[in-house]
Symmetry: C2
């Protein structure tokens, strides 16, 4: 007997992902850590910078020695040496009335608390410098630990690492970092009609588009695609590949099930897998209705629509948030959204959330950009190539009038 | 004698990049082509899809045979077979009154011009199907070449390839693509005070932060970083490394020149390199003033500020657009910008464009997000870690009042 499943809403679908736990952590070299997600808080074990540094070329002084000086009444300070770059400034200790030549980044001498820029000085004689502008204590100096003191929380678990974050870690001598493992995503296209992209299809067959598209989507979203190629519509063969894939993968993407027969077949495959529970069978989203989600422990199995244009939308709406959850970023879309104005009326069917492919063009006179629908049958790929993103229309709306301000989810 | 250079504006700086030409092209496998930039137009040499396909499970018919049918007056059509998936539908030729069973994605028989969904049919007897809803010609069918006809322009030179683009290419059997070569960027930190990030710095020395940060910035912007480590402030040593680096690199990033002495030293290095012309020596931007640009043929040499916080801003404003020009994307910033409202007054100095580090927070009541400055000395890295982007203030402005709508350039 055929099971009846209730179509669920996209928000109910996404909320299921909170039940999946982030992947285990691994330690990787800092140089490979861009865009990876921290699995532990990073606490500074030392001061950054490690010593008080000059931010200017000039003279390290006791600031009080310069108070009140001016062009007409210079402060004459005795030069007791120079802090050459990379040498210890602390080797010097300033007594009142003394100064030390210093360069940008150089370590301040003991008792020095300010740096006079070279522009505000004149050599007086071999051992004396004339200062004609006072400095305040701390002026032109970065104090030891002013960036990060020992024990400071530097970067927190769940943070996606940016170039400046890697810079801080290198400054603190942290050259390997604990991050969440990247999700491994097995990709399998099913269908007797498919041939690999590098083959000339015989009559009635076409090249597999989904494998390439899904691998690129996974890659872009920070996952590791594992291609399993094409499998004929044969239960035992598909089960064998799925079992093999699930031995290592965190997510299995099975595509090819747009058709009623195929969709039921995907369901049959998922039900025949060990310890696998069907969680979603149909979602009230267009395109994307025939989507299936199953779960095997902490692994997720998706039955994606066979039309790649629909599969791409389902990937962005549902696969991507789970990839982010696995990666430690939480259940989030992770796509840029903008506000735009509809350039024409966009009709929509009541009862289903609709994700309309749109082009976004800036308005010449400024203001919000214009969103124009890119129409085309759902099986066509060219509208997706022409589109910049998706404009969601909620299930209770019959559509949007021309000139309506809306959100557009931009394709990455 | 010291040369005097005029500080140039950021727009004059960027406009210099139009004089650099995109790198030569290379052909790479489709599976590696995500985010790469096409170096040639792609013209379809065949039709996609290669044949007319059903978009539904149902019956391929001559649409005219269904005209006028209804639930009370069904059209009875003679079943002459089934197009099994992956077999040739053209093996069948429909005569008037005939139908063929077909599945989603199946090839239409000869003379068929529509597909009746299975939901609108009833089996009548073994050889006959009753249709109770008419279809229009072309209904539930994607025509051969409806996505791309032979000879159609599919994707144009200069396009950054997205997942759906790769999908189309795989559908057309194009499994290797001509793209612009990725720019190679040599990164060299100079300074007697620097030690590598994995070493404990002795007194007066600090770890090299710039190498790690710049490599990540290059990586993120689509270039290939080539680390050359740290070089002491010695003209001959630096010249030797620069010559070696420029033998293979397209861009050389020399950092360490915030200080007046160092800046002049970088200039000396660039002038001592063969066939090298100084193009920029100082830019009226804060932070970033001490930036130097030189040119050796089609290669670019940057002298970056030694403060990594300034170097990062210069990278985004000036190195990134050149990377994009080399990559075939044109002289563009390539960073997301949003509109935001200043949360507090932000003062700025007349005469210099200022790029203020800001945090961006959504407003609870909706509307534009708020931008709050993240202050801190220019040598500090922690403000960059806390900031989401840069808010530009033009050179003729004394600052922005609280509540001013502004552009924010978001960090990638």
């Amino acid at each position: 007997m055929k099971d009846f499943f209730k179509l669920i809403s996209s928000s109910d679908f996404v909320s299921l992902f909170a039940g999946f736990t982030p992947l285990e952590q691994e330690t990787i070299p800092l140089a490979k850590a861009l865009s990876r997600v921290l699995a532990e808080d990073i606490i500074s074990s030392e001061a950054l910078p490690p010593f008080s540094r000059s931010t200017m070329d000039g003279y390290a002084v006791r600031a009080a020695d310069t108070f009140g000086c001016s062009e007409s009444e210079t402060a004459l300070l005795t030069l007791i040496g120079e802090v050459a770059m990379g040498t210890s400034g602390q080797a010097f200790a300033l007594r009142p009335g003394q100064a030390v030549r210093i360069w940008t980044g150089g370590e301040l001498p003991q008792k020095a608390d300010g740096v006079v820029m070279v522009e505000y000085t004149q050599p007086f004689d071999q051992e004396t410098v004339a200062v004609y502008r006072p400095v305040a204590p701390g002026e032109n100096v970065i104090r030891a630990g002013e960036d990060y003191a020992p024990g400071a929380a530097v970067l927190m678990r769940g943070r996606r690492l940016r170039p400046q974050d890697l810079g801080v870690l290198s400054g603190l001598g942290i050259t390997s970092v604990p991050v969440f493992r990247q999700p491994r995503v097995a990709i399998l296209s099913t269908g007797d009609e498919l041939v690999p992209a590098d083959q000339l299809p015989p009559p009635g067959k076409i090249r597999d588009i989904n494998s390439t598209t899904l691998a690129a989507l996974v890659d872009e979203a920070g996952g590791l695609p594992i291609p399993y190629g094409i499998c004929d519509d044969d239960l035992d063969s598909i089960l064998a590949v799925c079992n093999k894939a699930l031995a290592t993968a965190d997510i299995l993407l099975l595509s090819g099930g747009s058709s009623v027969g195929r969709r039921d077949f995907t369901l049959e495959v998922f039900k025949a897998l060990p310890q696998t529970e069907i969680m979603v069978h149909g979602v009230s989203v267009r395109p994307g209705k025939p989507t299936i989600l199953a779960r095997q422990g902490n692994k997720a199995l998706f039955g994606l629509p066979g039309h790649v244009a629909s599969a791409l939308v389902v990937f962005h709406l549902f696969v991507r948030p789970l990839l982010r959850q696995y990666s430690g970023l939480g259940v989030t879309l992770g796509l840029q959204t903008i506000r735009a104005i509809t350039e024409q009326q966009i009709p929509s069917a009541i009862g289903r959330e609709e994700y309309v492919r749109v082009r976004v063009t800036p308005q010449e006179k400024g203001g919000l950009p214009l969103a124009s629908p890119v129409y085309g049958k759902s099986g066509l790929l060219s509208p997706l190539v022409r589109a910049d993103g998706l404009l969601p229309i909620d299930r209770d709306s019959e559509g949007l009038d021309r000139g309506t301000e809306s959100t557009v989810i931009l394709f990455p």
